[in-house]
Every structure is written in C-alpha cells, then in structure tokens.
C-alpha cells in the first residue's frame, strides 16, 4: 500500500502535538503538586496554626480594642479599615513569610535538590507551590471576611468586588514572588523567618495595618508608600469603603514589586 503524499506532509505537525501533550502534562503535574503541598501544609501543625491563628487573633484583638464609630477626623468606620488591613496581613503571612521560610527549609534540607532529579519541570513545581499558596490565602481571607462580617459588621461593598479580587490576585502574585525570592536569598532555613519578619513587620506597623491612626511623619509615609504592604492594604480597604480619588499608584507599586520579586527569584533560583 502506498502512503498518500499528504500524510507525509502532515508529519511536521507531530512535534507541535507533542509539545501540547507535554504542556498538558505539565499543567496536570502542577495541579498535583499543589494538592501535595496543601496536604503537607495542613499536616504541619506549626505552619497551619501560625498562618491562620496570627491574623485571626490580631483581627479579634484589634476589633475588640477599636472604639466603635468613625475614625478620628474621617467619616469612615474603623472596622471598614482594620478588617481589610488584616486581610492584607493574612496575604503577607501566607504568601511571603510562609512560602519564603518553607522554600528556604526545603532547599536547606535538600528536598529541592531531590525534586530536581525527577522529570518534574521546574515551572510545574513552582506553579504548584504558588497555587497551593493561593489556596491557603483564599482560605484565610474567607475566615477573616466571615469573622469581620459576623463580629464587627464589616461587609465588602458590592462595587468593591474588583478591588477585592484584583487585590487578592495581585497580592498573592506580588508577595508570592517576593516569598520565592526570600527562599532563594536566605542563607539558611533558620535565617529565613527572622528576615521575613524583620522585612515586613516595620512596614506593616508604619502602614497602619494594626492601627490606622498610627502617627507617621510625612516623609516616612511617602517612603512607606513605595512598598507593597500599604499598597495592598489600601486596595483592599477600597473593597470595603469607597474612596473618592482612589490612587492608581497602589496598583503600580504592587506590579513593580511583583516584577522585582520575580526577577530576584529567577536570578537567584537554585535547587540547593
């Protein structure tokens, strides 16, 4: 039997099909990795407890000590600011602190080196890890929103959904990228956690995450505005309370830090 010439011509398509099959497999592996990461996260009591307990405890603490009514000098109720601020804090803890220390530990323990011996593509691994981080962040956000609504009557405004969804998405991308960068830059598993806390806590305090009335000199406020902590908090605050001239710059700050985080993560990425 002779093979029609057209069949012979169709052959060059084969590699493309293989590439698609490989891509499909990579996506499947990424999902599977995300599930594995979630399982290990929920099994690891210290990570899960720390990641959930800290934002929730702060939420209850701040909520119970903040006087009811408008913030001094504004027409904004306090809970409409501190509840979204704690959501931002949850994102930072889950995506930056948690992911950074976890990757530093895996690297230090030689687990990343071992994963590198398998055919799992680096992209699939990192996608899985980031996907798991996003799932964790979503769970924490859900808890904070629910408690914020039930205990303090803070409900996101209907028109604020784009800010809430966009802020969470970009927040996870930005702090996730910074978390991967931290995991690569940290010299050891032990140093990752102090570095993480020392880098975001002062910013969080000066950004008014724990106390919106925290007094900061003008020049310092301008400096803090260059960092992603207040930017994320402000975007999420807009999801709760309308701001007349919402600054677009917050989005650009988050985007810029996402790029910086991704660049450092790619530049310093190593398996051991």
């Amino acid at each position: 039997m002779t093979i029609p010439a057209t069949l012979g011509q169709a052959r060059p398509l084969e590699p493309a099909r293989l590439v698609w099959r490989a891509r499909g497999r990579t996506v499947g592996l990424a999902f599977r990795q995300a599930r594995l990461e979630q399982r290990s996260f929920w099994r690891s009591a210290e990570y899960a407890l720390f990641t959930f307990a800290l934002p929730l405890a702060l939420l209850l603490l701040i909520g119970s000590t903040t006087a009811a009514g408008d913030l001094p000098g504004t027409h904004v109720e306090g809970q409409m600011i501190f509840v979204p601020s704690i959501i931002a804090f949850g994102v930072i803890v889950a995506a930056y602190v948690n992911l950074g220390t976890k990757l530093a530990t895996l690297r230090h323990d030689g687990v990343l080196k071992r994963i590198r011996t398998t055919p799992l593509p680096a992209g699939a691994y990192l996608s899985g890890v980031l996907g798991s981080t996003a799932a964790t962040t979503l769970a924490i956000t859900g808890c904070i929103v629910a408690i914020g609504a039930a205990a303090f009557g803070a409900v996101p405004r209907a028109g604020g959904l784009p800010e809430l969804a966009g802020g969470l998405l970009l927040g996870v991308a930005c702090f996730g990228a910074l978390g991967v960068a931290l995991g690569m830059v940290a010299g050891s598993a032990e140093s990752a956690s102090p570095i993480a806390n020392a880098s975001y806590l002062p910013l969080a305090i000066m950004s008014g995450i724990f106390d919106p009335t925290f007094p900061v000199p003008h020049w310092l406020s301008a400096a803090v505005g260059l960092f992603p902590v207040r930017a994320l908090a402000q975007i999420l605050q807009q999801a709760y309370t309308p701001v007349e001239h919402a600054p677009l710059s917050d989005w650009f700050v988050l985007l810029a830090w996402t790029a910086i985080g991704a660049a450092v993560a790619a530049w310093r990425f190593r398996w051991n």
Binding site: L29, S40, R43, D109, V111, R114, T117, T118, P119, L120
Partner: protein
C-alpha cells in the same frame, strides 16, 4: 551487549582549571559499573554531566541514547539518582512519599514492588524523620527507582554506615542488578566496588587511567598473585634454605611469596616440591591470593603509579 553510556573525549574546565582532560569510557546495559578515584579526581563532575546537571566543556556524551545536556527532562524519565545528602520533606511517611514520587513519572513502578526491593515493606507507615540512617538510604533508593528507570546513579550510597546497614544497602543494590538495571556507582569503599561491580574505572588527573574488570585492573597495576603459608620453624631458623623459585619475605610467622614471572599454579607446584624435598610436609595454611582491587587502586593512584 549495547552501551547504556558512551563517553568520549569528555573535557570540563572551570576557567584555567581543567578538571576533566579527555575522559573516555563505556557502560554496558545491565552491568554494575563503578567509578573510582581520589577526592577531586572529577568523579562527581563526570556523574553530574551524565545526569544532565552540568554543561560539559567538550567531548561527546550519550546516556541511553540521549544527550543529557540537550534532553535532560526526557533523560530523567528513564534514570534514577541517589545523590549525597538529599533530605526528605519533614512531615512525610514512607509509602506516601514514595507514592508522591511515583506521580512525577509517566510509567512508575508499583509501590508494593518498590517497598519490597528496598526492604521497607514493614516500615511503610513510619514517619520518615524517625527512620535510621540505613533505612533513609534505602528510602533514597526507593525514590530513585520510583520511575522504574533503566539506569541508576548511586553516589557513595553507604558512606558512614555501620556494617549491618551497609550489608542491607548492598543487598538492595544487588536486588537492582537482579532486575536488570544498569547501575553506575561511585564509592570510597573498594571492597564494595569489588563485590558489586562488573567493571570499574579509575579516574585520576582528569582521565580514566584504567578500566575493566577487577582482575584486568589488577593486571594493569602490575600486582601479582601472592602465595602465603605459615613459615615452618626449620625455615625460620635458617636450617632449610628458602626456595629459589619464588621471591619470598617473612612477615611474623607468615611467608609471603610472589610468583616472579611464573603462573600461580607453577609457583605452587615449585613450592610444594621444595617443601617435599626439605621434608616440610604440606605447607600449613597455604593460600593463593589474587590481588584485591584495593591493592591495585593504591598502586595505581599512589605516587609513581599515576602521578
């Protein structure tokens, strides 16, 4: 037999430092091949190039018909590695960890099978951090085997083990050989290489100095067979002259003879003839010892040998 690995003219330089200066060797499918050499000889560099972790400076390398430099992912589907000092996730359990590793491969080996090969079936539900050093090493092996590889790299698999852990680890490696896997082993223990390897290669000064079976390597080192027996009283006090047919030294109460130029069999015949003539009877504790890999290795890598 086809070649699983073909390396020819492999060079590797870091700036002015030439670590590999033209390495040639071949690993046949289904054999246990042992790469030996002093520290810093380039063993790890060579293995890392074969595994696709390091880009070579020059030469050609084929591993299972693939170039590790350009096709690392396809290659990793078919090879397994036990690296030095690789950790485990802190919360993991044995069977669960192996199972999650199986998922990284397109056609993994059955879980029960993996547990059996490395003798961890009874510890399948144990927490990884509670395993002993030897058990962890066998778990390393199970993870390396998860994808049912055709070729396995083992980098110093028994370093720092007590004799019992070592014995079980070696047994697991012999199980692998029985499965028909090709194994590339690097080790510092020459007795281990001697026991496991079909062929060895000694790497020093950036080149393969000698490669082949242990006997071949020993011949290349120029070490002869030794014949030993307990030196009789009358020989030690000089009453009976030593045999002229072999060169002999006495260490303690043992006479050690090297069959100079003759085959071991004819040297033994000559010795027994000398003993009969001098009325020494059967030589007590007579033994014929082929050179060990260790003798050959030390000869080849010591000053005057290779350097």
């Amino acid at each position: 037999m086809t070649a699983a690995i073909e390396v020819s003219g492999l060079t590797m330089s870091y700036g002015d430092r030439h670590v590999l200066r033209g390495v040639d060797f071949e690993v046949r499918a289904g054999e246990v091949f042992c790469l030996l050499g002093p520290n810093g000889a380039g063993k790890t560099t060579t293995v890392e190039i074969l595994e696709g972790f390091r880009r070579r400076t020059g030469g050609t390398v084929s591993v299972l018909g693939l170039d590790p430099q350009t096709q690392p992912t396809r290659l990793r589907e078919r090879i397994g590695m036990v690296l030095q000092e690789c950790g485990f996730p802190r919360q993991a359990r044995v069977a669960e960890l192996i199972d999650s590793w199986r998922g990284y491969y397109a056609s993994p080996r059955p879980l029960a099978d993996l547990l059996q090969v490395v003798e961890l079936t009874e510890d399948r539900n144990a927490q990884v951090r509670k395993l002993s050093g030897g058990q962890r090493r066998r778990l390393d092996l199970a993870l390396a085997l998860a994808g049912d590889p055709d070729l396995i790299f083992l980098d110093e698999p028994t370093t720092g083990f007590d004799p019992e852990s070592r014995r079980r680890c070696l047994a697991a490696i012999e199980n692998l050989r029985a499965l028909g896997k090709t194994i590339v082993l690097t080790t510092h223990y020459l007795d281990e290489a001697e026991r496991l390897a079909d062929r060895v290669a000694i790497l020093a000064n950036g080149r393969v100095q000698v490669a082949g079976t242990v006997r071949h390597v020993a011949r290349q080192a120029g070490i002869g067979t030794k014949i030993k027996f307990t030196a009789p009283e009358r020989m030690r006090d000089g009453t009976v002259p030593p045999p002229g047919c072999v060169s002999m030294v006495i260490r303690g109460d043992t006479a050690v003879c090297a069959a100079a130029g003759a085959t071991p069999a004819s040297a033994v015949r000559d010795l027994l003839h000398w003993a009969a003539v001098n009325d020494l009877g059967d030589l007590e504790d007579l033994s014929v010892e082929s050179p060990t890999l260790e003798d050959a290795y030390l000869q080849l890598t010591s000053a005057g040998g290779i350097r």
